[in-house]
Symmetry: C2
Subunit: 148 residues, 2 copies
């Protein structure tokens, strides 16, 4: 393979990795101690998509092993941000539901991160970020499918 071509892809994934670290650090600096980006992301996902999903569905949505999702959900349970109910359609499974404190946690987190997003938006307009999304999603879909 061409050195330049390889370097483009390596640079891309390097930027991705650094951005992931930076965004995670930025988010967690604004969250109450003991809560991490995955905690927020799961709550946010339950709001945006809908609650009542199974742990495995959530693990797939975030591309993490199911053991990791178990751990994240346990943290949310400890804080009372979600509750588990049996899955009426499958006795092995559970469903995850938001609680009122969980919704408040999301609202507080969003309120405290909003100013930073506003600052970022001044430097990089939302339209420019939106323009990146299709390509990123395309790469993500390809890589996800490629794993098998």
């Amino acid at each position: 393979m061409d050195n330049d071509t390889r370097h483009i892809f390596f640079s891309f994934f390097n930027e991705i990795g650094i951005l992931a670290q930076l965004s995670r650090a930025a988010m967690e600096a604004r969250l109450p101690k003991g809560l991490t980006l995955p905690h927020f992301s799961v709550i946010n996902h339950l709001i945006r998509v809908r609650d009542g999903q199974t742990p495995l569905t959530l693990a797939k949505a975030f591309q993490v092993p199911k053991t990791t999702m178990t751990h994240t959900l346990n943290g949310l349970l400890d804080h009372g941000f979600v509750e588990m109910r049996p899955n009426p359609e499958d006795g092995r499974s559970k469903t995850v539901w938001l609680t009122d404190p969980g919704r408040r946690f999301r609202e507080d987190a969003i309120r405290s991160i909003d100013p930073e997003i506003a600052d970022l938006q001044k430097a990089i307009p939302a339209e420019r970020v939106a323009a990146l999304l299709p390509a990123l999603a395309e790469i993500r879909v390809f890589m996800d499918a490629y794993r098998d």
Copy 2:
């Protein structure tokens, strides 16, 4: 803040996070057991930029805490992929140098990941990925500077 605007940025960072996980998993599946993406990335960086850099310089380049870089470098030392020499310009500091096994490790890793990159390139041409780099770098630079 506008819900749609916020959602654009959240979606962006969500894609970033998932891509980081997928790329890391893909890379580590091809590396010898016990070696991680940061191990490879540091070696690759020492080749691309140049060796003889200090641990702190490397930590800043990858945006990780210096304790994390210490840990990563210890792993590379254990494998004999790098060696440390005192920094002649600063008695507190060290410099990191590649060894021949370290260079071989990089070559082997690249050889084994190249086919996957080639497949990815069929789906997403290198030019399209290259087109994303400036915006990603811009966002990364902004977020890096913003931390203070």
